[in-house]
């Protein structure tokens, strides 16, 4: 259910972390999934509604090429994943947005498609951006096979064996999505269609449902291929391994500007998480059950960290340090000591300040997990209806006060230093996707996207200094229309403390991967596997209940998956 954004004034005095701490790129780039992450909300909705997935269509040849339809009911509505699997040569297999063909393609359909509708989607879904879609098409997606692992699993099952656990732990998925489009893209339904629909009206819930059903399809597809290869010997995936196979995802720069372009939405996500953390922090005592839970989750996290391996040197070093800190800090959660400690969660968080940012963020996620469903109400406030409305009647003194109160971090940046404007964001003509360029070394800086929030704040401040405080925003914007975006933004974010990334997105220190990880952690992603500073692979729904298990609800593996 979509509720209003949290009104912090109605909460008792919670010690929320400062935006100056939380909204820094480095810390955002250390985000972990939490119980409030979107795939977790979806799992709870599916479990609560007793969702039953029905595979109404399965037309596949022996090689696993064909089509399938999976349908479930949620909140009184039928939704169907329509899946297409096609042959694809290796030279066409690319995770990049410039690809033009994929192993598999998908539509989340509003209802149950008849033959004509499946035919329409068959003609369009495999073409993705080149296709055209309509109001009953809710989400468009595609995925490529993890070729070697898919083959290994199919071959193993065909020979009556389960796949190698080490390889499964290393890869974690059979299919890797490279785009999941919602909200009106290429003619599909606008997000407003989902408003008021139980189970799907929160942020990215339709997209998460799509990915969860793609995961189910991937399990069925590999078992189908194995059965067709060796009907006499093939076996299905063991339930625990099936559960550990999630869906991969490759995410690039296209996702990064989203956070800067949706400040109120970002605030609502972070505010919910920070409020949950503050509620847990405010607990005067932890009882024995909570302490046991804390210890269980600590072990879960330790095992997850042990199973999280990446090639990226920088992240690999961070993970090594985090493992060591996590192992050393286990002494902090000694039950005898914590039972005797007043405000034990606050004490843990305060001690964590002396360790790495990665440790601090994992600890925060763990403590929210420990609290269980007591914070689930916050998930209802994570959507945003509008990003901001201009208030032309505001007097300039008030605007100036807001600017200095909330954008001091921006006003402090020294833009005359070349390093502070070393990069620029732009949209590539080729695929209309955001890109990041080096100013002076690449063309296109004159067309840069307005992601220079801090620089805009400074330019606004300079022009505000030239006019009397007695005027109105309306009169000011009539003279300076170039500030309209920034003025609206300042007005909109005045009550949204976590709206702004408090770093300079033009700086040579800005790493897009930090924005990607923040957003993906809110999705519920784990096993971040950066391939550069501007794109990453992740896993979604690894460890989450499969369709056959969904009514049993969540397990700890939903938070941080651990290979059994």
């Amino acid at each position: 259910m979509t509720g209003p954004a949290l009104d912090v004034t109605t909460e008792p005095a919670l010690a929320l972390r400062s935006p100056d701490v939380v909204m820094r790129l480095r810390r955002m780039g250390a985000s972990f999934p939490t119980r409030l992450s979107f795939l977790r909300s979806l799992i709870r909705h599916l479990a609560a509604s007793g969702a039953a997935v029905h595979r109404g269509v399965w037309r596949m040849d022996d090689e696993g090429f064909g089509e399938a339809v999976y349908t479930l009911q949620l909140g009184g509505h039928d939704y169907s994943l329509v899946a297409f699997s096609c042959p694809l040569s290796d030279d066409q297999r690319s995770d990049r947005v410039i690809a033009e063909a994929w192993d598999t393609s998908y539509l989340l359909y509003d209802g149950i498609p008849d033959a004509a509708e499946i035919g329409r989607l068959r003609a369009n879904a495999p073409r993705q951006e080149a296709g055209r879609f309509g109001p009953r098409d809710l989400v468009l997606s595609r995925a490529n096979k993890s070729v070697r692992f898919f083959e290994h699993v199919a071959d193993s099952l065909a020979h009556g064996r389960q796949p190698d656990r080490a390889r499964l732990g290393e890869v974690g998925y059979l299919l890797r999505t490279t785009a999941v489009y919602g909200n009106g893209k290429f003619g599909i339904a606008d997000r407003c269609v989902l408003v008021g629909r139980g189970g799907l009206d929160g942020p990215f819930q339709a997209e998460m449902l799509t990915v969860w059903l793609i995961r189910e399809f991937s399990h069925d597809l590999v078992e189908h291929v194995a059965r067709c290869r060796a009907p006499e010997t093939a076996v299905p995936l063991a339930p625990d391994l099936r559960r550990h196979i999630g869906v991969g995802n490759s995410t690039g720069l296209g996702m990064a500007p989203f956070l800067a372009n949706h400040p109120v939405l970002l605030n609502n996500w972070v505010l919910a998480r920070e409020t949950a953390l503050a509620r847990v922090r405010s607990k005067p005592h932890l009882d024995a059950a909570a302490l046991n839970r804390l210890a269980d989750l600590w072990r879960q996290a330790a095992r997850h960290l042990d199973q999280w391996s990446v090639e990226d040197g920088a992240l690999a070093a961070r993970i090594v340090r985090l493992r060591a800190e996590w192992a050393e800090a286990v002494a902090w959660i000694d039950p005898a000591r914590l039972l005797a400690t007043a405000f034990p969660v606050a004490a843990l968080l305060d001690r964590g300040q002396f360790l790495s940012v990665d440790f601090q963020e994992l600890l925060a996620a763990l403590l929210i997990e420990m609290a269980g469903p007591e914070n689930d109400d916050l998930a209802g406030g994570m959507a945003a209806v509008r990003e901001g409305v201009l208030r032309p009647g505001m007097d300039l003194a008030a605007l100036r006060a807001l600017l200095h109160e909330h954008y001091g971090w921006a006003l402090a940046i020294v833009f005359r230093e070349p390093a502070e404007t070393a990069q620029f964001w732009y949209v590539s003509q080729e695929k209309l996707e955001p890109r990041l360029g080096r100013r002076g070394a690449e063309p296109g800086a004159e067309l840069e996207l307005p992601l220079d929030i801090a620089r805009q704040a400074q330019r606004l401040a300079a022009d505000l200094a030239e006019v009397p405080e007695t005027g109105t925003v309306a009169a000011f914007l009539a003279r300076f229309p170039r500030h309209r975006h920034m003025v609206r933004r300042i007005q909109a974010t005045a009550g949204a403390p976590y709206a702004e990334i408090r770093d300079n997105l033009l700086s040579d220190r800005c790493l897009p991967i930090d924005m990607l990880r923040c957003k993906l952690a809110f999705f519920g992603a784990s096993k971040f596997d950066p391939r550069s500073d501007r794109w990453t692979r992740i896993t979604l729904f690894q460890g989450a209940p499969t369709a056959g298990e969904i009514t049993a609800g969540e397990t700890d593996d939903c938070w941080l998956p651990v290979l059994p």
């Binding site: 109001p135 890109r435 990041l436 109105t472 229309p481 975006h485 550069s532």
Partner: protein, 190 residues
Amino acid sequence: MTTILLSYNEVQTLARKAAAGAGLPYGVAEDIGEAAVWLAARGVDAVAAVVDALAGRGPDDILDGLADIDALCCGGRDEVALHGRDCGLVLIGLAGATAGDMGLCLAVERGEGAVVPLALVEDAGGLMPSAAVLRLLPADGRLARPATPRPAASDLAAYAAALALAARTCVPASDFSRAQGAGAGTTDND
């Protein structure tokens, strides 16, 4: 006329980008996107309306008109002239979107004196060409008419013109940008 059926998000995004491509500041282009949605929900081919409004010295007219609407909303003026303005329909869209956002009762006064609150408009195109001025009326608590489930169809030629304007905001790809701009990987056949 050949048309294309867009989603609201497509109408909004395309209108915003076209406005930016025509040289309007980003914050103004954002408002043009909102205006296009408001118009498209009330029977108007909003893409065509925006393209028409951006022609010639349209961007300057839009800036003037938007400043007038801002002033109207905060009591800085009594009315905003529509008659004789080529961007009149887009100004109505801007006013309609603003009225909805701010909870104001903005209305169109026609040449013959009839006053039509924008919240009650079903066919925004029908307001033209007799629309004379925009006025701010006391709020009367009447609920706004709901938007249509999908936007009015867009003329394909106007759609192409809007895409051409929007393309002005994009940077042509190069081998360098393909390789570096998105941080591309080398192989995905793993």
